[in-house]
Structures are given as C-alpha cells and as structure tokens.
Subunit: 426 residues, 3 copies
Amino acid sequence: MPFLTHSPSSQTLWRSSGVRVLRTTSGGPGVTRWFGEHQSPPTSQHARPCAFLSEVFQDVTIVAALGFGFLNLSLRRYGWSSVAFNLFLLALGVQWAVLMDGFLDQHFQNKVVIKLSRIKLATMSAMSVLISVGAVLGKTNLLQLTLMALVEVTVFVTMMMIDRHYLNVDAHVSMMHIHVFATYFGLMVAWFLSRSLNETVVQEKTQTEKRSSLFTMLGTLFLWIFWPSFNSALLDSPTERKNAVFSTYYALAASTVTAISVSVLAHSQRKINMTHIHNAVLAGGVAVGTSCHLITSPWLAMVLGFMAGLISIGGALCLPGYFNQVLGTHDTCGVHYTFGLPGLLGGITYILLIIYEVNWTTKSISRIDIQLFFGAGTLSLAMASGLITGVLTGLILSLKIFKAPPAAKHFDDQAFWEFPHLATGF
Amino acid sequence: MPFLTHSPSSQTLWRSSGVRVLRTTSGGPGVTRWFGEHQSPPTSQHARPCAFLSEVFQDVTIVAALGFGFLNLSLRRYGWSSVAFNLFLLALGVQWAVLMDGFLDQHFQNKVVIKLSRIKLATMSAMSVLISVGAVLGKTNLLQLTLMALVEVTVFVTMMMIDRHYLNVDAHVSMMHIHVFATYFGLMVAWFLSRSLNETVVQEKTQTEKRSSLFTMLGTLFLWIFWPSFNSALLDSPTERKNAVFSTYYALAASTVTAISVSVLAHSQRKINMTHIHNAVLAGGVAVGTSCHLITSPWLAMVLGFMAGLISIGGALCLPGYFNQVLGTHDTCGVHYTFGLPGLLGGITYILLIIYEVNWTTKSISRIDIQLFFGAGTLSLAMASGLITGVLTGLILSLKIFKAPPAAKHFDDQAFWEFPHLATGF
Amino acid sequence: MPFLTHSPSSQTLWRSSGVRVLRTTSGGPGVTRWFGEHQSPPTSQHARPCAFLSEVFQDVTIVAALGFGFLNLSLRRYGWSSVAFNLFLLALGVQWAVLMDGFLDQHFQNKVVIKLSRIKLATMSAMSVLISVGAVLGKTNLLQLTLMALVEVTVFVTMMMIDRHYLNVDAHVSMMHIHVFATYFGLMVAWFLSRSLNETVVQEKTQTEKRSSLFTMLGTLFLWIFWPSFNSALLDSPTERKNAVFSTYYALAASTVTAISVSVLAHSQRKINMTHIHNAVLAGGVAVGTSCHLITSPWLAMVLGFMAGLISIGGALCLPGYFNQVLGTHDTCGVHYTFGLPGLLGGITYILLIIYEVNWTTKSISRIDIQLFFGAGTLSLAMASGLITGVLTGLILSLKIFKAPPAAKHFDDQAFWEFPHLATGF
C-alpha cells in the first residue's frame, strides 16, 4: 500500500511501542526494560500540559454521563430511570473507584496522591458499571444496582492492579478489556435476574419508540464523537495518542457504513433496524480499542471496523433468540453484541498484532511466548473475572432481601418515580 | 487524613492563594500586596495559551446555551419558549455585557481592548439573566425579559466592578456570587409578576412531563459535566484551576449521590422525584464555587456537596408551599433551592475558610477583621443588590404598558409561537 | 470607533493577512510571494500542538454529527432517517474525501501522508453533503443519497484543489465557499427530485412538531456553539484564529437577536416562527465565515450578523412560495436561506474587504484587479460548479433505476425503517 500511510515517525513507533508491554516494574517477572530509541516517555509525559489532561478528563465524563446516559434510553417506559440511574451509578462508582484505587495502591506505594489522571482513571473504571447495567436494566431496583456497582468497581480496579503489577500490562491495554469484563459480568448478573421475567411484559415494554429512539441516537452520537478521546485517554506518548485517535475514527467510520448497509441488506424488505444502528456503529471503536495505538495503517483500522460492524449486526440478528430461550439470559440493551463481541475481537487482534510485531522485530521465539502469555493472560483474566464475579453478584442480587421489583413492574419507570398524574399517557 | 491528599504543591498554594484577596489595586484601601513565594502570577498567566482560553470560553458557552437552555424545559407547554428565549437572552446579554464592561472599565483605564477573556467574562455575566429567568419563566413576555436582561446585566457588571476596584475581591470570587445575586433578583421580580397567577393554570401547566423531562435531564447533564470548567474559568494559576476542577467534580459527585438517596428516603413509597434530581445534583457545584480553588482536600469538597444536596432537597420539599402561599412568590423552576441556597452556603463557607486560613498563617487579629469585612461585604453586596434591583425591576415590569400575557396564557407556548395547527395535541 | 477595538497586534495582522491570497505555489500564475513582516507562518504552524489539532478536529466532528444530525429533525415523521442518514453520509463522505484528497494530491506531490489535519479537512469536505442533503431530504432513498455523496465530495475536493493550485486561494477561504457550493448543488438536485411531489403529502408531513422541534433546537445550538471552531479550524496563525473566533461569535450573537426580533415584528400577531429561529440564528456565522480572520472590529462582525439575519428571515418569508410554485424546487429544510444566501453575502463581503484592504495598503491598481479576479473567481467557481454538477447529479438521480420512494412515501420514516408496530401512533 504505497499511498495512504501515516507520517514517517509512526513506523518507528510501531516497533518501539509494540514491546512496551515488556516494561518491568518491581513486582514483574524480571524481563529487562526495553525502550525504542525514538521514544522518550519521561519527556513526552512531561510535555503533557494540565489543559490537555483536563480536556481529556472532560471528554471521558461526556462519554460516561451523556453517552451512556442516553444510550440505553430506547425502552419506552424506562427513560427516566435509564438516565438518572446512570448518573447515580457514575457518581457513586467514581467515588468508590478513587477510594479503592487509593487503598490498593497504598499496598504498593507508601504515599498516595490524588491527581487529575487518577480521577480520569476512576471515571473510566466506573464505566464498567455503566456498560454492565445495560444488560440488567429494568430488572433491578436502585439498591441492587448500588451493590452491583460497588462489587464491579472493586473487582475491576483490582483486576487493573493485577494487570499492572503482575502481568506488566500497561493501563491502556488493561482498561480496554473493560468491554469484555463488563459485558460478561453484566450478562451473568442478568442470567440470575432474568428467571422471573414475564415474556409479555418484556414484549410490550421493551419496544423501541420513535421519540425515545432519538434520545438513544443522541447518546450514540456522543459516544461516536468522543470514542477517539476515550480510546486515547490513557496513552502518554503524543504519537501513540495520534495513532489512537486516527485508528478509532477510521474504525468508527467503517463500522457505521457497514452497520447501515448490512442492516438494509439483511432485511427482506430492505428496511433498517434502528437497534442495529445504535449498537453497531460503535462496534468499530470498541474493536479497535486495545490495539489502536499500534495501528498505523488506516486500512487495518477500517478492516477491523468492518469486521466489528459485521459481528455486531450478526450478533444482534442471531444471538438474542438463542440467549433468551435457551440460556434464559435477557440482555436488555444488547451489550453482548455492542461491547462484548467487538471487545473480544479487539483483544484477539491485539494478541495477533503483538505476535506479528515481536516476531518481525526480534525473531526470538521465547519472547513471543512471553508476549502471547501476557496478552492472552490479560484477556482471559478480564473474561474469567467478569464471568465468576458476575455469577457471585447475580447470586447475591437474586436474594429475596433486596425486594427486586415484581415481574409486572419490570422496565417501568412507575416503580421508581413519583409522577404528577399516573393516568396521563406516557 | 493521611491517605487521599492532593499533590504536594497544593498545600503551599492554599496558603498563598488564601490571601490573594488582599491584592491591592489603584482604587483600593491601601492594603499591601502580598504574594506567596511559590506562586508567580505573571508567568502563569503568560503560560496560558490561546488554545486553552478558547476552549474554556467554549465550555462556558455550552453551559450557557445548552445547559441553561434545556434546564428549564420541564414545563409541559413551554418548551419552545424556554430554550429559544434562553438563547435570545444569552445573545443579547453578552453583547450588552461587553458594552457595559467597556464603558465601566473606560472609567478606570483610558484604553479599552477586547480580548477573549472579556467575552468569556461577558458570557458569564449574561448567565445571571439565565439563572433569574428560571423564576419568572412563563409569566413574562419577550419585551419584559429584554428589559430585565438589560437591567440585570448592567447591575451585575457594575457590582463586579465595585468588588474589583473597591473591595479588592478577585474576579473569580465575585463571579461566584452570581448564584446568590441572580436568585434573589429573579425571586423579587417573580414576586411582582406572580400576583395575577391563576392557581389552576399553574397546577395544570407546570406539571412535569416524561418527554420534556428528558430534555431537562440533558440540560442538567451538560451543566453537571461542564460545571468544573465554569468554576475554574476565571482562575489564572494552573494549580488553582486544578484544585477548582477537582473540588467541583467531587462536590458534584457527592451531591448527586445525596440527592438521589435523600429523594428516595424522603418519599413514603420510596419513589424519586424527578424535579429534585434536576435541581439537587447541581447544588454541589454551586456550593463549592466560591471556595473551590482553596479546597485541597477531597473530603471537604464531598462534605460541601453532601450538605448542598441536603439543603437543596430540603428546600424543594419545604419552601415552595411557604413561598407560594405566604409570600405569593411563584418560583417556576426552583432557582431558589437550585442556585440560591447552595450559593449562600458557598459564600459562607468561603468566609469561614478565609478566616481559618488567615488565622492559621498570620495569627494577626486585624487581618482577620479585614478579610471578614471584605468576604462578608461581597456576599452581602451580591444579595442586597439582587434584592433591591430585583424589586425595582419587578415594579417596572408589572406596569400595564408591557402588556404581560394574561393569567390564562401563562406557561404556554401558544402565546408566543406560530404553530401550524393549534388543534393537534401538544 | 475609538472604544472597542481588538488588542494592538490585530491591526498589523489585517495588513499582512489581507494579501496572503497572493501566496505563490508551484502551479500558480507567477505572482511573487509576499509576507508581512509581523507574521511568520512556519513558526506559528510549528507552535500548534497536537492537543489543539485534536480538539479542533473533535469540534468539527461535533458540528457534523450532532449539529447537522439534529438540524434537519423538524420533519414530523422523518426523524430517524434525518439523523441516521446524516451519520451514514458523514462516515461515507469522510472516507471518500480522504481517498479523493490522496489521489488528487498525489498528482501534485509524490508522497502522500495522512495527518490529523487531513482528516479534519476530509470531515469538513464531507459537510458539503450534509448541507446539500437538507434540500433533498425525504425525497430520496439511501442509494440515491450514497451516489450524491460520492459525486459531491469528489467535486468539492477537486474544487478545493483547483482553488489551491491554480487560483492561489488558501484552504480557509476555499472551504468557506462550501455553503454556496453545497446549497446550489442541493437545490439543483432537489429541482429534479421535486417534480413528483404530492402537494398534500408535503403539506401534511413537513409540519413542524413541538417535540421534534426541540431536537432541531438542540442541533441548532450545537452548530451555534461550535461555529466559531468551524470557522477557525483551517487557520494557522493564532491571531487569525482569535479574530475568527471573535467575529463569528459576535456575528452569531447579532444574528440571533436580529432573527428573533424580526420574526416577532414580521408576524401580524407578534408571534415567532420556530423555523425562522432554527435557520436565521446561524446565518451570522455563515456570512462571516469567509472573512472572519480579517475582521478585527466587532462592529463589522455585528453588522454582518445583522444583515445575515435579515436576509435569512427575508428569504424564509418570501422565497419558499416562489421556488415551490414557479420553479418547482422544494427545499425541505430551507438550506437556501440558511446557508446559501448568507454564504453569498459572506463571499461578496470578502471580495469587498480584500479590495479595500489592498487598495489601502498598496495603492496599486493592478494588484486590486488580481485580487478581484481571484476573489470573484473562487466564489463564481463554487457557485458554478455547484449548479452544473448539481444539475448532472439531479439528472442521474431522477433515473428510474434508482427506485426512488413514491410520492406518497415521501418524508416518511416508514419507507426505510423497521418498526415494531406500524399501528401505534407516531
């Protein structure tokens, strides 16, 4: 591909950042530190001004509060709860994540300082709850959600700590497994809570509605616009950040075109399904997340976006029926094919890229093994901890003491909100 | 509090910025200039790039146009007017504030230059109108609102000028009294305009509606996300800005959790009141405003946020009945407990912080008196000028020549907008 | 105007940037390079950090995806299509523009690199489709829109290339003619597609609706807030960028006040027309676009904003009837008086400013002629290429093979979207 490549410096960066995973810390298994000559992390970190940090922090908050807040609004009768509970869980999760991060970090360092970057990390960790909540929305009350948020944030922050201190994986890669972790956590919780579902209530109350769907579109658009910011938020080097913004944007553009085209082609009367659009346009950004800073070719990003769009639409067409009827897991907002499957695709792509990269640069078979071990280890850890702690949380939340809303009141704002006139048509 | 403190440099800043209020200007009463060694304002101001300014300016515009535009949308039949009049008053107010600022400043300096920072200041001054308008919305026509905007911006810009030149209060603190000033101005105007209110019209037309409420939530979220930017917009030193962003974010998170929890607990059937949420989640940001740059401990910010949430919900539960029936003041969008009471809490906290701070650093009783005098003076000036000019404006606006809309057309878009079909269900 | 001028350095900039158009490139007609002493482009370009670029890029994406996405939502039954097709066309257009830009640029340079600034340019080029689509919305299917997007982006990128390489016009001025180009392209296409329109369907389905109109207002507000960013996105020098942000903001404020006041005064019962507001508040930003970096006096910007507001409201009152009935061109969302007429005003203002400027600085009649030739040439090229390629595209799109939706299904989401229950009231 002679035409369409990034600016010259990227090629060297690929090499140097591909092996950043090998970075040794005190608790690591003793691999030597290796930095490319063209990259000097201390300087690049120093050059990052406060204004930039504060801006990225704001973008992350927009993703969390506006993006996720409105993304789950498609339920006809559950709009108020979707957006307000999202804000509640975000505010709670951030505070809890800062505390947890402090406690756990104190274990490794003696002094704990609060910096803007920690609040950014806490906001991103709290997002795991906002993703998971899409699977259980409408089947839980506020108390259950609060407990779920506390457990999930604790597990996620612990997982990131393990990744950093024992698996030598940097914060960006570790954070990007949030999609896989949160999806399977949410699906497991939903599995326990879906048992009492009343099929007719689900049928009637989970319909898409025209006006609510526009709010969902608003959430989708916010996520679409600020996803490059989210994907590049934890990267230090300007070149890596630039690569991340590029690749995410390309992948999103490709998955948007794919999603709409495939949705048209998949329907017998050539009509588009709005739910596909809400979910599949974001799949590209999710899939490219883990490896976005390593991708220097737009083609690779676009191919990833295209595949993510296909997988997402495919999942939306095939999986709900199977999951609902065979496994009895009701995934309210389709987090499985919006975040879970594209996240898996992204994780696998990252492992492949690392192998290809290390292979090409060092030709040493032992290093590939280490990379493979760490890459696959992190992904498996994210998935396994999501599944296991999800099952445990689901078990606890399905206890009678939580007074979960009865099946007839599922997906209904009236269970939680004071309305002036219950009679007037909502 | 050994764990959870800000980065080292903040502690020294507290000391140096606590007494920034003592800064002397040509017109001041002769207190000597005192700068901490660790802070060099000329450099920090110089280091602030154009890009940063332009970004903060944009954030402030988002707060004004999107945040306030959609915050008052909860009236069922008044959506168009709320958002369009807000934009009109913003555009008018900004232009008028730039003019006023120019005229008044010309009095002190000979040459007037327009800089981006002045437009930012003008936008923030124009926000006083956007706050006040929440109390009178639905009871006024466009002509009355125009006059109110011109008077209020003039008074507010004059007040800031007095604060700066005679009370030695810096622009940030002065600006943060906007909540107290604008609330009492708005309430006084509303007092005069509420006399003709028809109780059944109010009952019927001010109901919350499901769909409109989601737009209000959108406004609330914009304010929630960009409030840290608003609170730090007028601070020069990067450390103060960082403190301000931190404290505001913590306070907002705390008041969000408080607001939703207390709203649940206060209701007999454990249901949440949406109006509480719209108002109380912002109370933390308002309360922390005046002192946000001085707060280095997250705990203090969170306690402030918690108290602000409590006060706001308490006000929303108790005050409307009293104000409506005893005083006859109808506060359409609850500005009293969204901005007024938390603003008062913030003003008092600032005075306490200053006293504690000066006491601790200098041990000189005379300096405390001066601080107390200036701190309390600014707050009282804001409240008094709000009350007095509000009464005067209310008197003028209740004159017959303005042709205020009749009581039956209050809170109704049909009085102002051309609809294609008046019959179809709005 | 002794009071209210910009900071001192602007005056000199005016002089230096007024003749930047004379910049010679390899393909140009041999005018000598002339740079003011006060401006050093290489340094200013170098000083622009990555963070700034990435921020401006984000603002441009917000304008394209959120602003234009929601701007055209006022059609009662066409909400889903408006916003989703907008996102589709944006994603498609950006990818196509990057490709086209690469191909065309390869013709002039040997090596093609992809930089963030190119993606920004591609996003802005893709906006031409988003503007044009406002005129044909509801009368086309997705296949027609796809073809239109590909043709329009190709023509626009080619036009910018011709401007740059043969007419020596810099990217900013060239880009700002997007409004004129896109409007007349869209109108020509709409001319061919409006022939089959059913008048009663149009009457019934293009009505404004209360709730949709609030979404339109959301789009308008996004455009309003981020228009200064859009207008300054392609400027290199910080001073020019500052001037652009200033003038655009002033012009927008002036046109907002004008639009609302004139809309009230023009109606016999003193009622405001919401459609006027959606369109006319933006007219100021469009009109000031081409010359915003040259305007240093707020008065000039405000006068331009006032005139643009007048023209836009005037156009909205007079033109639709004439165009609909005499020419048979149905302009769905009023792009003619939102973007077209204010864009023409802006183009003419730019020519006048250049003449005045060159005249004043050089007193050489021959240089004026060159300026006039290039200034008028660019504007005419934009208009002519819009008209001609619009006619060709309209001819192709009106072919039977595209299976355009029948007149009865115009302006209706049901032609394109899968709804859960077709019966329930939309």
